[in-house]
């Protein structure tokens, strides 16, 4: 065993129980640690992590009132407070607690069960550091969002044939393939693993592939099998719910989320999902309960959001409880003072509540506020909120504002059939479908025309002109996914055909990043990223030959 030496490591201990905190500190001193910071609350942990980058975080799950360990980890990851090679160890009271606590993307590196001694602690730290060092070339690139290079490095490690690392590497390789939409590779990785051994993560992977191939029947069967074998595997529940929802069965999705919540009631994202599904299926009683829980859990969570409050208020409007609705909105104001999205959400519902209460003056006042907020911040608010406002404007007889927002939404979402469908439904509800259908058709035509013109210019070899066409369209429809994707394609093909330059590479990266931000499907973006990475690599690989060191 190596001599314990944590001298160079910056360590944060998060533990509310003074004796335990002292004990862990003592253990670390016996391991030669010198840079130890301690805190007794989750809030304290976050503020320490904002002040300094830690190499090791030892965090108790159970921190009394306030944030728990899981919420600390979620917030740290969300705000990127942890360096990618830091080790986060969650200290729990029970063995086997990990599966229940772990949210999909927010797993600690290790769970350590109380009580433990210094040797155990050091051994876990050591093992994690060795693993992280081994995987550094992959995890560093994942952290940077460069999946193509991460994949390249992962395959390099796989070729070294270390029997102890083969499965962890294959697991990582599968995840990378899934993340980049390379379903074929993902499938062969998981099948290779399953031939050797029936491992739950490989089965889950196959289910996720089926999901992405829109084979919901197979996906559902796969996730159900897994849950049968591993009833505490919450990731399988999350995916099963997603698959039911995609298969247009919100009721089944709701029941799945409910089962998962029964096993792990404090998962806020699942509570939100339950609320949304209950709302959608008109299960108002359950929706009220779920929104309330989400609001409560949100108080200590980075996932706290105004839409939980407005969702709850809307349920109260539906159940004819205007006073509860107003009270909830009051809380919304308090919790999110001066946040435009929160205020807009509140104003929209206030309009409706006052209308219901028969107070036209206050209703108009709230509606004016909503319109004013929309004027100022509308374009930066979530689209579900903009749709809400469309409805309110229709109800208030302000068709021109409705039409303006719809025009904007249609232009930006013309390639999203579900969203376009939602717009049509709302317009139909207000006998305005002639307007929306006409608009949708015109916009589709416009995109097709632009696209054809750009593609035809490109085919004639007029790359610069083709790019101009798309750039022009992009300035008019900055959120349109088809246009940004075509722009990215042309830039990458141009580099491939006509050679690379620093400027072209940079431009390609900017456009691809924007496309990812807009939510262009990863399987459409990934091939371009891979192409770009191999172009960059060719460039890099050639260099040593020209100038050997």
């Amino acid at each position: 065993m190596m001599t314990p030496n944590l001298k160079s490591k910056k360590i944060l201990i998060v533990e509310d129980y003074p004796v335990m905190r002292k004990a862990i500190e003592q253990m670390l001193y016996t391991l030669n640690a010198q840079q130890i910071v301690t805190t007794d609350t989750g809030l304290g942990a976050i503020s320490e992590m904002k002040k300094a980058k830690f190499d090791i975080v030892l965090c108790d799950y159970n921190l009394g009132t306030g944030k728990n360990g899981q919420q600390v980890l979620e917030e740290a990851k969300y705000h990127k407070l942890l360096p990618f090679n830091a080790v986060f160890i969650m200290i729990t009271a029970e063995q086997n607690q990990g599966m229940v606590l772990g949210a999909m993307d927010n797993k600690p590196d290790e769970y350590l069960t109380k009580p433990f001694n210094a040797q155990q602690l050091f051994s876990r730290l050591q093992r994690n550091f060795v693993r992280k060092l081994y995987l550094v070339s992959v995890e560093r690139e994942i952290d940077k969002g460069n999946f193509a290079l991460a994949t390249h490095n992962c395959e390099k490690l796989l070729r070294q044939n270390d029997p102890n690392m083969r499965l962890p590497l294959l697991k990582l390789r599968g995840e990378l393939a899934l993340n980049t939409g390379d379903l074929k590779t993902a499938q062969s990785v998981y099948q290779e693993v399953l031939q050797q051994r029936d491992l739950p993560w490989a089965r889950l992977g196959l289910g996720i592939i089926a999901f992405h191939q829109n084979d919901y029947e197979l996906a559902i069967a796969t996730f159900q099998d897994l849950i049968g074998l591993y009833p505490m595997m919450l990731e399988a529940y999350d995916w099963l719910a997603k698959a039911h929802e995609a298969a247009d069965d919100p009721q089944e999705a709701l029941e799945t989320v409910n089962l998962a919540l029964d096993l792990s009631p404090s998962a806020i994202l699942r509570q939100k999902k339950l609320a949304a599904l209950a709302d959608k299926t008109e299960n108002l009683e359950l929706a009220e309960k779920a929104y309330k829980t989400a609001v409560k859990l949100g108080k200590n969570s980075v996932h706290k959001s105004p839409s939980d409050y407005s969702g709850l208020a809307r349920i109260y409007v539906k159940t004819n409880a205007p006073h509860e609705a107003l009270q909830t909105l009051e809380e919304l104001h308090q919790q999110f003072a001066n946040e435009p999205e929160a205020e807009l959400r509140a104003a929209i519902i206030e309009t409706e509540v006052f209308q219901k209460l028969g107070d036209d003056t206050l209703a108009l006042q709230a509606f004016d506020k909503a319109r004013q907020l929309n004027e100022q911040f509308g374009k930066n608010t979530p689209e579900d909120l903009r749709l809400e406002l469309v409805k309110t404007c229709f109800m208030q007889g302000d068709h021109s504002t409705s039409e303006k927002i719809i025009a904007d939404l249609v232009r930006n979402n013309i390639d999203d059939p579900h969203f376009i469908d939602d717009i049509n439904k709302i317009c139909t509800g207000f006998n305005h479908n002639a307007f929306s259908e006409n608009l949708i058709q015109r916009t589709r035509q416009e995109v097709v025309t632009i696209n054809n013109r750009g593609v035809s210019l490109f085919k004639q070899g007029k790359v610069k002109e083709a790019l101009e066409v798309f750039e022009n369209a992009f300035s008019k429809m900055p959120n349109n996914k088809t246009i940004i994707l075509n722009m990215a394609k042309i830039i990458v093909y141009d580099i491939k055909a006509n050679g690379s330059s620093v400027e072209k590479m940079l431009n390609a990266k900017v456009v691809i990043k924007k496309a990812i931000q807009l939510g262009v499907a990863y399987n459409k973006i990934a091939p371009l990223q891979q192409e770009l990475a191999s172009l960059a690599n060719d460039h890099a690989d050639r260099r040593p030959a020209l100038a050997p060191e």
Binding site: K22, A23, N96, F116, Q120, N164, P231
Partner: protein
């Protein structure tokens, strides 16, 4: 505040929070023992060894009771992945390190570096750790903890140089209820837990199992846990 209605008492909740509480107490206790220990020069009083041993025992029993309760109420599943057998052995060794430093007993280990096994590593090391802890009481001077590939199974063995298991233990079927003997300090919980856990590990039609006999290389008791 709600009134406490005995009919709606949430037993799993009480159990879980009590275990959490007891574990905090145990952690405190172990810290205090360690602090006291430092006040003594070497050749520490033998009571320390006893304290450490009993604290381990209490902790193991708490863990096992809680897991068995969860299995019983279907709120449990294994978390299976591939692990180097060496890591599991190492986890058990470090878990025992405080006790070993106070004890004349030597804990030896033997494991091929590239041996992989498929299991819930936290629970398997907890189950085997309990057996090792018990072996401290019955061995004379050494315990061997080993892992090896045997046909389709990876076998973890705990062998000691003591007097061996009593006859009625050895004749009991693997996994069958081990005789409970009040007053002897043996409830059979550790063996029952290990057998239950081993059986939950499957690979196709194969299941894990445990075996006890007196075929230790040192002439004492041998416990074997087979993982498929």
């Amino acid at each position: 505040m709600q009134e406490t209605d005995p009919q709606t008492i949430n037993f799993p909740g009480i159990l879980a929070s009590s275990v959490h509480d007891m574990k905090n107490s145990l952690s405190t206790l172990m810290t205090l023992i360690a602090r006291l220990e430092k006040m003594y020069p070497d050749a520490k009083p033998p009571e320390f060894r006893q304290l450490q041993f009993e604290a381990n025992r209490m902790n193991n029993s708490l863990v096992q009771l809680l897991i068995l309760y969860k299995i019983e109420s279907s709120r449990f599943s294994l978390s299976i992945d591939a692990h180097p057998a060496q890591d599991i052995i190492h986890d058990i060794m470090t878990q025992q390190s405080a006790l070993l430093s106070l004890s004349p007993v030597r804990l030896l280990n033997e494991c091929p570096a590239d041996l992989m096994c498929y299991c819930d590593n936290a629970l398997i090391s907890s189950a085997i750790g309990t057996i090792v802890n018990n072996a401290h009481r019955y061995c004379r001077e050494k315990i061997l903890l080993s892992a090896a590939q045997k046909d389709d199974h990876v076998v973890f063995c705990v062998e000691d140089d003591g007097a061996g298991y009593p006859d009625q233990f050895v004749s009991a079927e693997a996994g069958a209820s081990i005789p409970f003997e009040p007053g002897t300090g043996s409830t059979g919980l550790g063996l029952y837990f290990a057998a239950t856990l081993a059986q939950m590990h499957t690979n196709g039609a194969q299941r894990g199992f445990t075996k006890i006999d007196n075929n230790s290389r040192f002439g004492g008791a041998r416990f074997s846990l087979y993982l498929p």
